[in-house]
């Protein structure tokens, strides 16, 4: 073949070189494999505990089982608020096979929510843990559920979740007492009271729902399940059943509540009925009202906007959160203060020519021609201003202030509802503190007939009149008897009971005069009269500032008051009614008080036909919702 020895040598060297290079490739491979080997060492030996935990979390998922809130009942155990099962469409982002955009694009047409809205909802919960469901649509229809079920395999990240939802059987009725629930806010979560809450939880926002939230709230349970990568349950490890919230039994009487609501009707106003012997609230109405059921599902922006921007402020509880000039109702307290301080002799008379002058100013009586010579009884029955101007002048503002405060005005009554207003009883000290000026004696004259700086809430009016009529005994008003709370093992505050000194004769004189207001011929409160049930009361007509300037129109109509109790010697019920721009108290407010007290009286006498009682009993026949 002609290969030289040298050629063979070269060929041999050549082969050696190729073999050596092959070995070199082997060394490269060994080092690469060693790197891989140490990678596995690191994952499976060094970090194996960490990954074991990750694997555990991967397949075990805790699902919250929502606990229903406790029911709220009236004093006869008729249901005012309970729960119903409802369904939410939720998204669980963990292990979703789709991007958010894909998920939302498929879901949007099916549930009728725009892509933007859905993304917005998701973004608001973006920072929460990925396995926590995000609610995309609440309280969905059967059609929505069907859509999700039909797309179970295409959209494994979307599912339907059951949630007990608040239901207020009377809709708008008693809305301000019951309040409403809503999602806990970021601000609330900062509050120590909501320490064990997490974002998305439901919490009482107003009324009893807020006040007794800790009692009504249940204890959410959980279910620990094994899931596959699509979040589908493969088995269950353990379960802690949810514990329903405790029921709340209120002192409210649905029949009285309805009577008051119907009589106020579409007008703006407030009514409250108390049992002065105990402080129990029998009825509490604020109009216009709202439907708390709207809050049970997430309130739409439009609905919320309507409630907030409504100039009549339907969310405001006018019984305890608004204060008004008491008008002539205040004369009752003036009379009591006068008698107790002995500034006023029960037999004293005053001549009323229709006006009176004090400190260089003329103050008019409402009756142009004057009442002539009037005593205390007549001054109350006919509501003579001049008579009380004189008492006010004698008493002076600080004595008026002292007695009025003692009798329960100008301070919170302590009712078990949130955000109570204290009203205002002015004093020279107050004027100095707030306006940094001295009190003008002329102002006292206005205060004497319940005008000027003095203002009371309807709750205070009922409470104070009831206290006076009961001989100076003030029982803290309440919607839930502390005994009921103790019964379910929760801590309850003790009810406050006050007794201020007042002469029996003074109470008798004033009570008799108030009886006269309702029952005597020409009395301003005759519309509150009930045969057989000695109703006593006092009308009030609080001037609206614009009216003095001769402005016309509904907004400048006077506010109408009526505060009354019955029976007048041993009062069982005291009622305060206030109608905004209602006109005269005797015409606008007294009939509402009449309706409440008549219902009370009929029930007491066993004459009440109770069609409402039957109606509610039927609705509440539904079983209580338990998750």
């Amino acid at each position: 073949m002609g290969i030289t020895i040298g050629g063979v040598m070269r060929q041999r060297e050549e082969s050696e070189l190729l073999r050596w290079r092959s070995s070199f490739v082997g060394y490269v491979i060994v080092s690469a494999l060693l790197v891989l080997f140490f990678g596995f060492w690191n994952h499976q030996i060094v970090k194996s505990t960490y990954y074991a935990q990750r694997a555990e979390q991967n397949r075990v998922r805790d699902i919250t089982l929502l606990a229903p809130r406790g029911n709220i009942y009236d004093r006869y155990h008729r249901i005012l608020a309970d729960n119903r099962p409802s369904y939410n469409i939720v998204l669980i982002r963990e292990n979703s096979p789709h991007t958010l955009d894909q998920t939302v694009a498929t879901l949007s047409p099916g549930v009728g929510i725009s892509v933007e809205d859905l993304l917005d909802r998701i973004n608001r919960r973006r920072r929460q843990l990925k396995f926590r469901p995000i609610i995309l649509k609440e309280d969905v229809s059967v059609a929505d559920i069907a859509f999700v079920m039909a797309h179970r395999y295409e959209l494994p990240e979307i599912s339907v979740e059951v949630q007990p939802r608040r239901r207020y059987l009377g809709n708008e009725m008693g809305a301000h007492v019951l309040g409403y629930v809503g999602e806990v806010t970021e601000a609330e979560l900062m509050n120590p009271e909501f320490l064990d809450y997490k974002s998305g939880d439901e919490v009482g926002k107003a009324g009893l729902e807020r006040q007794y939230n800790s009692i009504l709230r249940g204890q959410d349970g959980f279910k620990r399940v094994i899931v596959n990568n699509f979040g589908r349950e493969m088995g269950q490890l353990e379960e802690e059943a949810p514990v329903a919230g405790k029921d709340l039994f209120t002192t409210l009487d649905l029949d009285l509540q309805r009577a008051a609501e119907e009589l106020i009707g579409k007008r703006t106003g407030a009514a409250v009925a108390l049992d002065p012997r105990t402080g129990e609230v029998l009825a509490l109405v604020s109009k216009p009202s709202f439907d708390p059921n709207l809050f049970a599902t997430r309130l739409s922006v439009a609905d919320w906007g309507n409630l907030i921007s409504d100039p009549r402020k339907p969310l405001q509880n006018r019984v305890i959160q608004n204060h008004y000039s008491p008008g002539s109702v205040f004369k009752i307290f003036m009379a009591a203060a006068g008698l107790e301080s002995e500034v006023l002799n029960p037999l004293e008379t005053v001549f009323c020519p229709g006006y009176a002058s004090f400190y260089g100013h003329t103050f008019a009586c409402w009756k142009r021609g004057g009442h002539g010579t009037v005593g205390l009884h007549g001054a109350i029955v006919n509501s003579c201003n001049v008579f009380f101007y004189n008492i006010g002048k004698e008493l002076g503002i600080d004595r008026i202030s002292k007695y009025a405060t003692t009798m329960g005005l100008g301070r919170k009554t302590g009712i078990d509802l949130p955000n109570e207003d204290a009203g205002l009883i002015p004093s020279s000290e107050w004027k100095q503190r707030v306006y940094k000026t001295a009190w003008y004696p002329g102002e006292t004259i206005s205060v004497s007939i319940g005008q000027g700086a003095v203002s009371v809430t309807p709750m205070q009016a009922a409470w104070a009149i009831g206290g006076l009529a009961s001989g100076g005994r003030l029982k803290q008003p309440h919607l839930v008897n502390p005994e009921e709370i103790k019964k379910i093992g929760s801590n309850a505050r003790e009810l406050r009971s006050e007794q201020y000194p007042v002469h029996e004769s003074a109470v008798d004189i004033i009570g008799r005069a108030m009886w006269g207001v309702v029952n005597e011929a020409g009395g301003t409160g005759s519309r509150a009269r009930i045969d057989g049930f000695d109703v006593a009361g006092k009308t009030g007509t609080a001037q609206v500032v614009g009216r003095k300037a001769q402005l016309k129109g509904d907004d400048f109509e006077d506010h109408a008051w009526f505060v009354g109790f019955a029976p007048y010697r041993t009062p069982e019920i005291v009622v305060a009614v206030f109608i905004e721009n209602g006109g005269h108290g005797g015409e606008a407010a007294a009939p509402v008080a009449h309706a409440i007290m008549e219902t009370y009286y009929k029930k007491k006498m066993g004459e009440f036909d109770g069609d409402l009682l039957t109606k509610i009993a039927q609705t509440s026949g539904n079983k209580k919702v338990r998750n």
């Binding site: 070269r10 190729l18 070995s23 490739v25 491979i29 990678g39 994952h43 499976q44 194996s48 991007t99």
Partner: protein, 367 residues
């Protein structure tokens, strides 16, 4: 030089340890494929893989019985046929997950790009072994060798199947390195490769860019592309030293592992058989590689050496990329693990390669 398979001589010269290692890996593969797909029995992954393995074993004996010189002799025809097959695939192939890389033959789908690697290995080995003896290759030679490999590779890349196309590169790299490159040429090629990387960025598809970004930063999209690797690492790490036991891998059984019977089969091994199982499996793969290198070095001629080293390059690339991927050391690509991943093309190619290696060894004393 072809020997009847039944002869005593064939049996004596046959590389039984190498074949045994491959069989053990196939058994592991079948077990873990059974384990990872037992919840979807209708797909019959286990039985189908079993059929492929049996076919592969038969092919090992057939190929080992053929003298590789005969194959090398006919390689130009095979090479042209292969190019034709790749063009056919490009034109009429089936598209699976965005790549036109499959052709249907009867009831089965195969990926021609896999098996054609073996043709490229032999073609390149023949070219390199027939070069005039010299210490270093000339530029023209490098270019010709490059063309042999890059032409089919380009057709695969056009499918587009970048992952599989990349597996053609180690054949060329190993071949050129062993045949001999001037230090300057070696450095120039390495530099060229490094420089091409950033430029090629602009030619990558979005999903490919995304994969690379995800590799560099796995938490970038933990539910999307990073998800696979995250879940795979959880599976492997939670396997610990001894593993959770066969059929007990929770990540596997509850479906958290993606493509667990194909590309991510090694995660299942890691989870169910633990560090011990991983070490044994990696050990078997390493044994196949080093036994092959030994076979290359003891081959009768340079043709045999180049064929086997080309195969070593392919095996190595697949192993490092696939095993590196499941623990997050390498970016995610759809490159299967030889002998272990489910799939006919992958299994057949691995066994054909094995047959070639055994054939080279069998012929070492023939003279």
């Amino acid at each position: 030089m072809a020997q009847p398979i039944a002869s005593k001589r064939f049996s004596q010269d046959f590389d039984w340890p190498l074949f045994g290692a491959a069989l053990l890996l196939s058994l592991t593969s079948l077990t873990e494929i059974y384990s990872s797909t037992m919840n979807e029995p209708s797909e019959n992954y286990f039985l189908r893989q079993l059929a492929w393995v049996i076919l592969g074993v038969i092919l090992v004996f057939i190929i080992a019985a053929i003298d590789y010189h005969v194959l090398a002799e006919h390689i130009p025809v095979l090479y042209v046929l292969s190019l034709g097959a790749l063009v056919y695939t490009l034109a009429l192939g089936r598209t699976v997950s965005g790549s036109k890389s499959w052709v249907q033959i009867g009831p089965v789908n195969i990926q021609p790009s896999e098996i054609i690697k073996m043709v490229v290995v032999i073609a390149l080995a023949r070219y390199l072994s027939e070069l005039r003896q010299s210490k270093y290759m000339t530029l023209v030679q490098i270019a010709k060798a490059g063309a042999i490999c890059l032409l089919p590779m380009a057709l695969v890349a056009l499918q587009p199947d970048t992952g599989t196309a990349l597996t053609y590169l180690p054949i060329l790299a190993v071949g050129l390195f062993i045949r001999g490159l001037r230090p300057a040429a070696l450095i120039a090629l390495v530099l060229a490769f490094v420089l091409v990387l950033p430029v090629s960025w602009f030619f990558l598809k979005d999903y490919q860019k995304e994969r690379i970004l995800t590799f560099l930063e796995p938490d970038r999209d933990p539910l999307g592309r990073g998800y696979q690797v995250t879940q795979s690492k959880i599976a492997i790490g939670s396997g610990g030293f001894l593993g959770k036991g066969l059929f007990n891998g929770t990540q596997n059984q509850l479906g958290f592992l993606p493509t667990r019977h194909t590309d991510f089969i090694f995660s299942v091994v890691g989870e169910e058989l633990g560090f011990v199982g991983v070490s044994v499996t990696l050990g078997l793969l390493a044994f196949i590689i080093f036994r092959s290198i030994y076979n290359a070095q003891t081959a009768r001629d340079n043709l045999g050496l180049f064929i086997v080293m080309g195969i070593v390059g392919i095996y190595f690339f697949h192993i490092v990329e696939n095993v590196g991927m499941v623990i997050g050391f390498m970016p995610t690509t759809g490159i299967p693990l030889p002998f272990l991943s489910y799939g006919g093309s992958s299994v057949l190619t691995a066994f054909v390669a094995l047959g070639l290696v055994i054939g080279v060894r069998r012929c070492r004393y023939v003279n």
